[in-house]
Symmetry: C2
Subunit: 501 residues, 2 copies
């Protein structure tokens, strides 16, 4: 009976909708089954479970190190923003003040007519406070006191925080009302320096995405329709998911002097003349988790690039009795030490309340890059069975020297995942020159490189008719001018169209 | 003129109220002058500035490592808690639902009668949401779905998060409306296991306080008056500040089955019978920053224990011209590398827009443990001037072998700070046997070990008449019974009374 239960559980684990059947359902199921996150009792907010949070922590640590290497320091600003602050920058309030959580009272009291508590009407705030949807306003309100002279610049600050946007339709990691993120807010003495920092940070994000997430991205400029509310210019990194849809994975905004003007932040320049400060802001969020999942995972579950996997190697003993386990452990424990010394995170799962078959399915589902299995026959032969998660290929190898081999394989998996994702993107990126063909092709789940006349009206029309948007105007690649596929007007270069998350 | 400005700035930096003149003002000024934090535009909320946040980050990393070493994993739960969740546990709601930030609406709209935005009355939430003052309720609401069998236990989870309590009187780091903290929430199969974990975590906090913060603490049990709302028992670590007042630096609560009952969280035990889960929770917050500042700092500014100092060693060149700086740098840069290799964080401050005297004052104010200064004569003699921040002692030492010497001195500073704080606590802890003497002595700023009859009434009377509270019933030390100094009734052991932050 116990055996049956394990088989049922193992089957249940694997009982994941196939991507080809329903990509969206596959994603939602995978997030829950791989123990990454789940819906909470609060509308649109998720609980990030320990395994999911461990991946996010690895992302955080890496990004934090990369930010600090460019001179950025961390700080922390208040969660709540006075309503009047949000209103200072005209475009910003249009973009952010609308769907947000509003704190109106600061006390509850016992319900005189019942058993619960009610909002105390006497504890109404004079001015409502908004749970930050982003922190430009409170931060620039603070910078006013920090910046006086060109000697105070540049100011390079980042905050790791939670933010809240009252989203109507939510999906775990991709779009949730509350999410975790970092937001960098830099202040500079010149427009050129601020623009250079804006570009520097989008390049940091691209580096992180490609080297750590093994996710190819295109760096580009957003069209005015998709720009951050209050920015002169928004750069983004865009990635292709397995269904051919685009995901905006990070943004960096050149804010010009808009926020400095809104909050009256000036500095004395080298000529001793007052000047408004130049600003940029840049952020990535737990949305990266969604991108990571959708870039690499398969019908068996999660596939994690080794550089972000909380467990890089799992070792599973296959044994009949206590004595058998003891013999295997004698062989395995020194190997565990050896791997740890190489900085490889390894788990030896000798728990006796789950059968090997169940464990295999579970670690596959959780995307552990390398699995070793050791049984009685391996002990006799001095071998070990190694499976790599990216290809699901199994190999029987000598246990002698296996730790060097594992190191190589982890690097190979990291490279292979990037290569596969890049090949997919290249295979599914096409050039289109007529709007008719565009309408047909966009249904296939592709990135379309097409000419556009540069107007918001044309972009809006295309969006309405095809649900595709301009993901970005790529910084690199083909810069040949042409004519807009819709209006026939001149176009400076091809831009990327896609349907997007 | 420039010279004058530097002198004025250096003087201004040092112009810190003396502790003996006004301890409270000294603290408030120091927090701002040392660039740790400042008041924000939002009532009771502070901005943690980069230098202050860097210290908090060091605390976080160390604590996180210590938690994980005991098997704890991190996760993340929602910021907002439905009002009905708070009401589930009767004592808890009494303690926490009263002074809190309440979200009642989810949208703003343009003011039809003005230029700003107003709360959209149509976007009223059906049920109000509370910005978490602590997360027991939302977490135990979630655990209901995670815990089914004894095999799911123990569940050892921690969250790093911001929380909010609408405090009436706030002081930076010590008591702010929003603060950063970690909250651990563990679930166990037995009362014994949960109690053991509660005690384990208060010991982790004590270890951290003593080994890293160099702050001696007493571990004890809170009296019922001071217990966490909803707990059977609260353990705390209590530290003595330089003014003889007590600061509660961390707490660990045995919650019994209270939250499991409130949220109906049961598990099948080994006998296959349903049973309520046993809970504990434990937390420390940015309040530790206040404790750190008030334990070691002096009239010249911050004094940081080396293990938590963002900059452990600062090197300041003293030179007349470019050529002189170049010669010094040639000597210093290899030393910087050498120190970094030892894992010592070092800053070589060769900025030319601040004079050495200003730099000296600034790094003293910021509590950098070791300062090296190198001038022309040092170059000739192969020496360097070393000042240690804890004693302000200066020594001229051979530059040869200085990195080993620095390593020793850093350890010595760490030990010395702990020793000094311990000596102070011992000198200012007294035994008192009559209430009259108690009333006199408590004015002197001391910890008083006195007998108490164990009733809330007596504790309340003492608090009203002397502003002193029972900080804790110490776990270790003298356990001799006696009679209550107020009522003459029997007392099991002496407890610690003090005025507290």
């Amino acid at each position: 009976m116990r055996e049956n239960l394990f088989q049922i559980m193992a089957k249940e684990l694997k009982n994941l909708t196939k991507r080809s059947d329903n990509y969206s359902q596959w994603y939602n199921e995978l997030v829950v089954k791989a123990d990454l996150a789940e819906q909470s009792a609060v509308r649109g907010c998720m609980v990030i479970k320990p395994y999911g949070y461990a991946i996010w922590e690895k992302m955080q640590h890496q990004l934090d190190e990369m930010f600090k290497a460019t001179g950025v320091q961390n700080a922390y600003f208040p969660l709540l923003i006075p309503k009047s602050f949000l209103c200072r920058e005209a475009e910003h309030v249009e973009g952010f003040a609308k769907e947000c959580a509003v704190v109106t009272h600061y006390r509850l009291k016992n319900d005189p007519e019942g058993t619960g508590v009610i909002v105390d009407p006497e504890a109404r705030l004079e001015e409502e406070l908004i749970v930050r949807p982003t922190s430009e306003t409170i931060i620039w309100g603070t910078y006013k006191n920090w910046i006086h002279s060109y000697r105070d610049l540049p100011l390079l600050i980042n905050q790791w925080a939670n933010v809240m946007r009252w989203e109507m339709r939510t999906r775990m990691f991709l779009r949730t009302s509350e999410f975790l993120w970092q937001e960098g807010h830099c202040a500079h003495a010149t427009a050129e320096e601020s623009e250079a920092r804006t570009v520097e940070m989008i390049n940091v994000y691209a580096d992180f995405a490609q080297k750590y997430m093994a996710m190819p991205v295109t760096i580009g400029v957003k069209s005015p329709n998709e720009r951050f509310a209050g920015a002169l210019n928004t750069y983004s990194i865009e990635a292709m998911m397995q269904d051919g849809k685009a995901l905006q994975a990070g943004t960096s905004h050149n804010l010009g002097q808009n926020f400095a003007k809104a909050f009256d932040v000036t500095f004395m320049n080298k000529e001793n003349k007052p000047e408004y400060v130049w600003a940029n802001s840049w952020g990535v969020s737990t949305r990266l988790m969604g991108a990571l999942i959708m870039t690499h995972s398969d019908d068996n579950g999660l596939v994690l690039p080794p550089k972000l996997a909380p467990i890089q190697v799992v070792i599973i003993p296959i044994y009949k009795n206590e004595e058998g386990l003891k013999e295997i452990s004698e062989k395995v424990l020194p190997l565990v030490d050896e791997l740890k010394k190489k900085g490889i995170s390894v788990k030896y799962d000798d728990a006796d309340n789950r059968r090997p078959g169940f464990k295999f399915a579970d670690y596959e589902l959780k995307g552990v890059p390398v699995r070793l299995a050791l049984g009685q026959r391996d002990l006799e032969n001095g071998t070990v069975e190694l499976m790599r998660r990216d290809t699901l290929e199994k190999e029987t190898l000598p246990i002698e020297g296996i730790s060097d081999k594992i190191e190589e394989i982890l690097e190979d998996i990291q490279d292979n995942l990037f290569k596969k994702a890049l090949e997919r993107r290249e295979a599914r990126t096409i050039e289109v020159d007529t709007y008719d063909e565009f309408k047909k092709k966009i249904e296939e789940g592709v990135f379309i490189m097409a000419h556009w006349d540069g107007t918001p009206e044309t972009e809006e029309k295309i969006k309405e008719e095809t649900k595709a948007t301009i993901r970005c105007i790529p910084l690199e690649g083909d810069k040949t001018p042409g004519v807009c596929m819709v209006t026939g007007k001149p176009s400076a270069q091809r831009v990327i169209f896609a349907r997007a998350y």
